[in-house]
């Protein structure tokens, strides 16, 4: 078998004439133990070179517009055509960030916000995963539970704010509850949907190997559900960041959302932009953390995309 397949790899360089030559040479070896057609079905990747070029070119192209705008605005303000009072240039935003950082205030605000998001995210994920799993696994529970959850989902989550404040007070608990509500729904839906869409044919494979209930969950259901679960976690986290802003705008004495509000009330647009930039960085960073943490378990999917996208 070996030579027949290695022939395939040698064809990957792109020179199809070399590939074809090797193919004919190894033909006798292949006939003995492998079907010829499946060997030759993989095309030589002669288009690899241009696609690799665009792979690096694409992010650069994407950066072109924002960088040009930022530099252009910087130039406009620097040359005195605009005071940049309402739309501060990048340098002033950066100066604000370093200033806040030097005074130690930035760390305090970031820590407060991160703490709220983490706690709300944790509560939302646990609740969403549990209820989603129950609804997905057990159809009676789904009939009982799902209509109510779907009805609650239709309520704009910010509508809960007054109630949460009455119930849970104006301090941390109501904020965390709001974030948790935001995180809950995508996770719940993701888990339930993923369980419902697990391929019955694969479950049947588990049955033919006489897997017990727990083994079926561990060896079939969990890995099958994981890709959709990771996506729902990322969506949930995105909503968590959205709701932390809402929660902190409503009333907080610290946190990035407070920086936004403070910047508005005291007329400091650079501070607002600084908070927005930090939100963007933190949001991207935490999203990336989930991606990285899940990557080892989802390598089989990468193989799929690599095979398709190449």
């Amino acid at each position: 078998m070996g030579p027949g397949l290695r022939r395939d790899d040698s064809g990957r360089g792109g020179d199809s004439s070399v590939a074809f030559h090797n193919q004919t040479r190894f033909l006798p070896a292949m006939i003995s133990d492998a079907p010829v057609l499946q060997q030759t079905s993989e095309p030589a990747e002669s288009t690899a070179a241009p696609s690799r070029l665009s792979r690096y070119a694409r992010p650069v192209l994407g950066l072109l517009l924002p960088v040009t705008l930022a530099l252009g605005w910087e130039l406009v303000v620097w040359s005195g055509w605009s005071s940049g009072r309402l739309v501060p240039p990048p340098s002033r935003v950066f100066a604000t960030i370093t200033g806040l950082g030097r005074s130690g205030e930035l760390v305090r605000h970031i820590a407060a916000t991160l703490w709220r998001v983490s706690l709300g995210f944790a509560v939302g994920v646990v609740a969403g995963t549990l209820l989603g799993a129950i609804s997905g696994y057990w159809s009676l529970a789904r009939r009982l539970l799902d209509p109510t959850v779907q009805a609650l989902r239709a309520i704009p989550s910010l509508a809960w704010v007054p109630l949460f404040i009455l119930w849970l007070g104006i301090f941390e608990t109501s904020k965390i509850a709001l974030i948790a509500v935001g995180v809950f729904f995508p996770v719940y839906l993701g888990v339930m949907g993923a369980i419902l869409s697990v391929d019955r044919k694969i479950v049947e494979v588990g049955r033919t190997f006489r897997l017990s209930g727990p083994a079926m969950i561990r060896r079939i259901l969990l890995p099958a559900v994981l890709p959709a679960y990771v996506v729902s976690l990322r969506v949930g986290l995105g909503l968590g960041w959205m709701f932390v802003v809402a929660a902190e705008l409503i009333g907080a004495s610290e946190g990035l959302g407070y920086l936004l509000l403070d910047g508005q009330q005291l007329g400091k647009p650079a501070q607002i932009l600084a908070a927005i930039v930090i939100f963007a960085i933190l949001g991207k960073l935490t999203d990336w953390l989930i991606e990285v943490a899940a990557a080892p378990f989802l390598r089989w999917q990468d193989a799929f995309f690599r095979a398709k996208g190449a």
Partner: protein, 261 residues
């Protein structure tokens, strides 16, 4: 010995998929089940596998009743049904979870070698061609050494060359431990190449119509006149099974009665 005694299956919607199917299958025998669509071939196979329970009648393997999947019975489906998150090697070892790791690895390595995919051990199923994936499925089913291997149209999704290659390969693997093979197919060629005995079923309700012994030595030459003769007799029987004017024969008379030419 695998004994099917008046196995019937009526689905909840009232469709009678299988009516009083009886057969006795010797250990190591290769059986092909063939018939028109809706003749209950797959229903029968799933009943033998213990995946679906028969409405009435019994399936017994060495006098042990089969009502749920059994360790001695393996099954290969039309699709490979590999677990996409496991490497090829882990897929093959899927049914060996109870064995110690070293023993499992050794068996998997041997099976990989045997199906000619040793260099694909760490590949993901999605990187395989259809034929390679079905080889992995065959290896996965055979590696726990079942006494009975059920195959539900295992090669029907493959192109003609790959199919032929895998048919030969299956016989080659079968010779290692000689399990009983029960193969559902709609390919007369495949039935005659592989089987010791071809069971012809007729539809609505699915029932046994005829059985034909294939008294041909192996390896079988697909182009030989004798092969053609057997093929023709299976085709004739298949045609008669679909002709409503032909009454049911008593297929339990015993094998060989179809060799009337």
């Amino acid at each position: 010995m695998l004994a099917l005694d008046r196995v019937s299956k009526t689905y909840p919607n009232g469709v009678e998929a299988l009516a009083r199917f009886s057969a006795e299958i010797r250990q190591g025998e290769i059986i092909a089940i063939i018939g028109g669509s809706g003749c209950g071939k797959s229903t029968l196979l799933r009943a033998i596998a213990g995946l679906d329970r028969a409405s009435s009648g019994t399936v017994t393997l060495d006098h042990e009743a089969i009502a749920s999947p059994h360790a001695k019975i393996g099954i290969i489906f039309q699709e490979p049904r590999l677990l996409p998150w496991l490497s090829v090697a882990d897929n093959i070892g899927f049914g060996l979870a109870d064995l110690p790791a070293t023993e499992r690895r050794a068996k998997v390595a041997r099976a990989l070698e045997r199906v000619g995919l040793a260099d694909k051990a760490q590949a993901w199923p999605r990187e395989l061609s259809g034929g390679q994936a079905q080889r992995v499925a065959i290896a996965r089913a055979l590696v726990p050494q079942p006494e009975v291997l059920l195959l539900d149209e295992p090669f029907s999704a493959l192109d003609a060359f790959t199919r032929r290659d895998l048919q030969d390969h299956l016989l080659d693997l079968w010779a290692d431990t000689r399990p009983t093979l029960i193969l559902v197919t709609h390919d007369v060629d495949e039935a005659v190449v592989l089987a010791d005995r071809v069971l012809v079923m007729r539809p609505r309700p699915g029932r046994l119509f005829d059985q034909i012994e294939i008294n041909l030595g192996r390896p079988r030459e697909r182009n030989s006149p004798l092969f053609e003769t057997f093929k023709r007799s299976v085709l004739t029987s298949l045609d008669r099974s679909l002709d409503r004017n032909v009454p049911d024969r008593d297929a339990t008379q015993g094998p060989g009665q179809a060799m009337w030419w």
